[in-house]
């Protein structure tokens, strides 16, 4: 008898709780799929694209209004690229993902949310803008840092995020590897030694690209920050008297990837607007916004307009030189991979 009562009350509480949470969800749902003259999409992106998408969302809203007479509301989400991909894979309802690397979009695909072949859906392997990895040093370059090998010298403090948790940091790591690969003609032991020395000089291994920039800029740590080109330019723009940018002799072409999340847009019925959202990134206007935010536009013609800003002669390797992301991930960043090895004694 008594036990029955306990169970009954337990059930009531469960119901109460679920209805409570259910209400919250229900009301949100209503807001989203309201009338057809307003549509809302969610863009899940990575850390350094905030300024870019803030501007882009405005022109896209205007563009969509002109084309279809419909208001579009875009909700942004930013964070470490890997974490963002993980959250989308776990059920964060993103209509489009605009992440730091193909590997992260692939993780969403592996969760069954994006159909195969997304890489070819948009131009340039679905990367509307690219970037590269450069050095940010303190004004006057007191440690005389010119190239990657300077980072391995004694007494140089390096700041870079952790490749295990940050997409940007993987590009950093691979760019350094590409340099050593060329220097030592592919001698793996020597390359590893080089990488080991470099990472021994790392003072702070932040969990994300933005955290690393903060350590370098705000907290005054280290002599050189290995950074996204656009991040470096942003810091120089904010503090022109304190920092300067050094372009190394060799770097990597960082291709941030964009994709429509198929299962979400099909459910919400937002495929048209989501596809157009990514498509319009290739328009001249959007490409110029990318350039203004120090991303390299994928449109060659517009890239030329920014030839005073970017060092266009830089020697860039691509991820294909590493055999694609799957292979690079497995050899370098997985548990027990090369990155773990260089930290072992």
């Amino acid at each position: 008898m008594k036990r029955k009562n306990i169970i009954a009350i337990g059930l009531i509480v469960i119901l109460a709780l679920t209805s409570l949470t259910g209400c919250g969800a229900g009301s949100k749902e209503e807001k989203k799929s309201g009338s057809s003259d307003k549509v809302s999409i969610t863009n899940v992106s990575y850390d350094p694209t905030r300024e870019l998408y803030e501007e882009y969302n405005k022109i896209f809203a205007k563009h969509w209004k002109e084309e279809k007479g419909q208001d579009v509301e875009i909700t942004q989400s930013h964070g470490g690229s890997g974490k963002q991909a993980l959250e989308v894979a776990n059920g964060l309802e993103a209509d489009v993902v605009t992440l730091a690397l193909e590997y992260d979009v692939k993780a969403v695909q592996d969760a069954g949310l994006i159909e195969d072949g997304w890489v070819d859906e948009f131009d340039n392997d679905s990367s509307p803008y690219t970037s590269t990895i450069v050095f940010l040093v303190r004004k006057g370059n007191p440690k005389n840092i010119k190239d990657w090998d300077d980072l391995t010298k004694d007494g140089v403090g390096v700041i870079t995020p952790n490749p295990k948790t940050s997409g940007g940091a993987r590009w950093n790591y691979l760019a350094a590897w590409a340099y050593a690969d060329k220097l030592y003609n592919g001698n793996e032991t020597k390359i590893k030694d080089f990488m080991k020395k470099l990472y021994q000089n790392v003072l702070v291994l932040d969990s994300g690209a933005r955290g690393a920039t903060t350590s370098f800029v705000e907290n005054g740590q280290g002599d050189v920050l290995i950074a996204w080109e656009n991040e470096a330019y942003l810091s120089v723009k904010d503090y022109p008297d304190d920092y300067e940018i050094i372009t190394p002799s060799i770097s990597i072409l960082a291709q941030p990837s964009v994709a429509v999340v198929d299962s979400v847009v099909d459910k919400k019925g937002t495929r048209d607007v989501a596809t157009e959202y990514l498509n319009y990134l290739y328009s001249d206007e959007a490409q110029r916004i990318a350039g203004d935010n120090y991303y390299r536009p994928s449109n060659e013609k517009i890239l030329k307009e920014y030839k005073d800003v970017f060092d266009l002669d830089i020697n860039l390797v691509t991820i294909k030189d590493f055999g694609g992301w799957d292979k690079a991930q497995k050899t370098h960043f997985a548990d027990g991979g090369v990155f773990d090895q260089i930290y072992e004694e």
Partner: protein, 274 residues
């Protein structure tokens, strides 16, 4: 001899007070000082515009929503748990007490992770939730759940010692005279635990407002939709908007200070009454 002793104990007194003050200044006051000075670095107008930003206000509203929901849940739970644990004897009581306390020591990361495992996409529940149109992770309910989790034992922990110390004699007498459960609680028990109860609620509110780790795992960081104030601080910080970040932090600091003042008053009143 006597005087010497007194002098010595005076010395000890001020020494200990000195150590305490120094410790508190370095550990608690300086960080607050940093927050406030950084927030006002670009002047008052900038500060006002930072805290009246559209997203800041949305985040504030969400924070208040989540906090209120969590506090209500935990208050109901705290009362029930404290009553059950102090008024009755049963086997497994010790384990039950330990289980209730677990959220205090569980890493916030794990707290977020477990809800992802239960309600997220790889859960077997997910298809049913989808069908019913219920979103939990990366939506407001998830944030509320995480907040409930981290503050789960706060009310009950305050109530249990008080309930234990007042004993059950009065309640038993009332029950024997035929009083109903609710009447007993309202007329006899509640006056005793009033202050501890309020104290627990205030603590719970304070902690709920500031939770970062668990909420961060569950929120999805959707601007203006699932961003609480602490998350908004992180976002601003990551946007290199240091001054606005600290300005928003200062809202949380002000709220915390208000709560602590309430707490002091509650405690002071409580002490005076007993």
């Amino acid at each position: 001899m006597e005087a010497e002793k007194k002098e010595q104990s005076q010395l000890v007194k001020w020494l200990l007070i000195g150590i305490s003050v120094l410790f508190l200044v370095i550990m608690l006051v300086l960080p607050l000082f940093v927050v406030v000075t950084e927030a006002l670095r670009k002047g008052w107008e900038f500060y006002v515009s930072a805290i009246t930003d559209e997203y800041t206000i949305k985040a504030l509203i969400l924070t208040i929503e989540a906090t209120v929901a969590a506090v209500i849940c935990n208050t109901i739970f705290g009362l029930c748990a404290a009553w059950a644990l102090t008024r009755f004897h049963f086997r497994g009581k010790k384990i039950l007490t330990t289980l209730i306390d677990i959220p205090v020591t569980v890493s916030p990361i794990i707290a977020g992770l477990i809800y992802i495992l239960v309600f997220g996409k790889q859960s077997f529940l997910y298809p049913y939730l989808q069908q019913a149109g219920i979103k939990i992770v990366f939506a407001v309910p998830g944030i509320i759940l995480a907040t409930i989790f981290v503050t789960f034992p706060f009310v009950s922990r305050e109530l249990i010692p008080v309930l234990e110390s007042i004993g059950t004699d009065e309640e038993e007498a009332a029950a024997l005279m035929g009083a109903k459960g609710l009447t007993i609680f309202r007329k006899i028990t509640f006056p005793h635990i009033k202050w501890a109860f309020l104290y627990g609620i205030v603590l719970c509110t304070a902690r709920a407002m500031g939770e970062f780790g668990a909420v961060s795992v569950l929120s999805g960081h959707l601007r203006g939709v699932t961003n609480t104030l602490p998350l908004h601080v992180e976002i601003l910080f990551n946007e290199f908007q240091y001054v606005p970040a600290f300005a928003v932090s200062s809202i949380l600091v002000i709220l915390a200070v208000i709560l602590l003042v309430i707490r002091s008053i509650v405690e002071y009143r409580g002490k005076k009454e007993t």
